[in-house]
Symmetry: D2
Subunit: 263 residues, 4 copies
């Protein structure tokens, strides 16, 4: 007979805002009895395009940012120690079994999803061998900046309230009150084969989202921005065709490097 028993303390915030480090610090300082066992934060909130700085969160927690020395060492020593004494009932997610199998060379205690592992392998090759990790990060940063410039050219507003919270993987776009963002999304999908994200929860109907994450390049983004312009035109929002594309092109023309493998 085993017993599971834990409490969850949720800190609420506004859409468009990231982790409030002051509240977090305050809660932790108040925890003299060390009741708090874990802190869980959203790194990148995809529903609004808000990123929180995990490095700063770790500083508040008093944890040094330990760089992994080998690629598989993504679970820290402390958490493995903690898991040895944890009383929760676990099966698939019991690290002990994985560590045992890893040592014996058979790697997986249970049947893994082989297809997903092959996909992961291929994706990692694209990132690490073909494009290069630094280039991937720079590309995401460049595409995000180009997207935000397009949003400004359209006279619309980025959802993330401060630059420190700008996500490099998705941009939330706030529409004027008289416009339903779902109408923009609908026409983009139905006429232009463009899949924009909907606003969720508090920003439903007020926000649409442009994803620029993963295996997406400059021209795919510019095509998507051109599609947003067409959709905005169709729903009656006054936008100059090509204006957001041109603003984004100005960024990309300056920042896009030659593709390493084609020099």
């Amino acid at each position: 007979m085993k017993r599971l028993n834990f409490d969850v303390d949720v800190i609420d915030c506004e859409g468009g805002e990231g982790v409030d480090l002051d509240i977090l610090r305050q809660k932790l300082e108040a925890d003299q009895a060390h009741v708090v066992k874990a802190v869980c934060v959203v790194h990148n909130e995809t529903s609004t395009g808000v990123t929180s700085d995990i490095g700063e969160v770790r500083q508040v927690l008093g944890i040094d940012l330990l760089l992994p020395t080998r690629h598989h060492q993504i679970v820290t020593y402390q958490s493995i120690e903690a898991s040895k004494h944890a009383k929760s009932t676990r099966g698939y997610f019991d690290w002990g079994e994985y560590i045992k199998c890893y040592k014996s060379g058979s790697y997986w205690p249970y049947t893994p999803s082989v297809q997903l592992l092959y996909g992961l392998r291929a994706s990692l090759d694209l990132i690490l061998k073909v494009e290069g990790l630094e280039n991937v990060i720079a590309r995401h940063s460049r595409l995000a900046e180009a997207t935000r410039q397009a949003v400004i050219a359209w006279g619309l507003t980025v959802c993330a309230k401060e630059p420190k919270w700008h996500s490099t993987v998705v941009t939330g776009v706030v529409v004027p009150p008289w416009l339903n963002s779902n109408d923009v999304i609908k026409v983009a999908w139905k006429k232009y084969n463009l899949s924009l994200g909907i606003g969720l929860g508090k920003v439903a109907g007020k926000v649409f989202r442009i994803g620029h994450l993963g295996y997406v390049d400059e021209l795919q983004l510019l095509g998507a921005l051109a599609g947003v312009e067409l959709a905005l035109t169709d729903v009656g929002y006054p936008v100059t065709l090509g204006s957001g594309v041109a603003a984004a092109q100005a960024i990309l023309s300056r920042q896009t490097p030659s593709i390493a493998s084609r020099l």
Copy 2:
């Protein structure tokens, strides 16, 4: 011992021009002895973006446009009859073997390229079942028109000399004499992951080509046009960023219908 023996009479023309129906008519009228057994014309010349009207060619030849009654009946009765008396040595392309197999239900006298047949099947489903043949044709026409408007907005010239020769599948673009079209192609490929076609033969270095054939939609084309603008900028051709995209968007905004399956 078999003997093959035939003559080929080639009618030359300028790049940018299609079939000259007058010369064709003249040659055929001069052929009182019915020496000519076959007329071979290029329907769509991909190296320049020039299309010839096959219906008009058939009228010059005096052949009615026989609509096939069943999808496999793409070989006319006359040509099957002619093949029975042909003296050429044939193997893989001997229709007789195919007709025999077709009747017996085994379809192929020799091993077909199964992968290509599956690909063909999937493509035909996309054309006939998913999008619809009429929609496919209209889309090609719309994308070609949008591309030509972008070319004009850039201050460049379409290679096909007359509208009747405009291809709906590829547009050849003539650059000014001081610019080498291969430089545009090179930077498009090396920086923007955009594969433009080179000019071939007489138009080498003078023309680059934008393909808008097959499974390509409005936003992919607009992305490609944005990429041409970036490449032109990089090689020093004075183009206003977003100008060609906007000209193409104006066409597409008016002409793009809702996607049938998403209504």
Copy 3:
């Protein structure tokens, strides 16, 4: 502040045995206070090839087998009601969000794994449209029976202790005490490209497993059985080559129907 709190009562059993209905009945009858909220049983234990009859478990629980009236109705009315009053912290697995989205026609509250859904769609088409559900079930039953006959022909033992526990998707094979089942598995993999399952936990080293689940047909199974014979020979177990294959062929020769789509 939310609190999670529940107890788990695990009923242990031997490898090779299924659910003990008597113990289950006894536990439930002793629960006068209705403390038990859920009963969780393994339908098919893949580590031993043991299946438990869920219909009989439901009878012990006093639950009628409610046939779903529509394909998506796989969550019972009772469990949806229960979820409304549950106090656990939930996100991705909160049915309420799914039901809300399902009604609005947008189907998914959060980003689904689109690739897995496409894969599921294709698999369901293969099962329901191409082969037919009844045919799929009959094939699994036929392949399992053929495998067990091969095991007997080799002089080895099926792990599942009674016929009522025979799994149709995987067969555990017990090797003699002087043989390490992992050696059979190793040579099958290293020489014959055959992936057999290892014995887990209590049956480690004593059992290897032959999977006959999913998109596998008669000849693939016979090839695998031929591979087991080669591997057994290599590790010194005395097996007559072809003996298990012949025993399985005898079953398959009688039971294999013509493929519906090729009649």
Copy 4:
């Protein structure tokens, strides 16, 4: 105006026989005027499973076997010289254009079938990097020998009349006169999802063919042989189930090496 004019002299032979070197030698010695410009032979006749030794053919022709020094040098110097003076009308197959493009680094004068090139690249990687060319050749030889032993165990005859003509990629199997080989093929396909080759031309109805070419391993072959046994049983040919499989297993048990990448 261009003229094409050439004669073709076909040397006939029986099904089951390869190139008759004596007739070839005789024809060439009789050609004092050097009228013969090219000799075309079938290396591997897939309709019967007959291979001719190209090395011996070259010796009769008086051509040394020139080993290519680089992987792309598969066209000999002589044939390139000959093509420069050839008067035939050529387009896609004009080597001159390819040589020109190869030197300029653009590789292809016209649009290549990119998908087939990617497929070729992947296949060459499997052959040269993953398995190793020598291992691939040894595997084909091993599978062919195992197949022939199965044919003998079934009391049937290999089509290729002499061992020197045995193909390593496909085995033609002659059935007794009272049996139609197409019936075996039909039941293999309709019940066992096994695609055997039909007999063509002179051996139609008398021969079925087992392919063991390409990415096929020992257990796939054994599965196919088990399927032939089931099909032969269904059409009334008296075969002991497992007999051909066992004969093939005996060869494979001795000859199959460990897989290099799994040592």
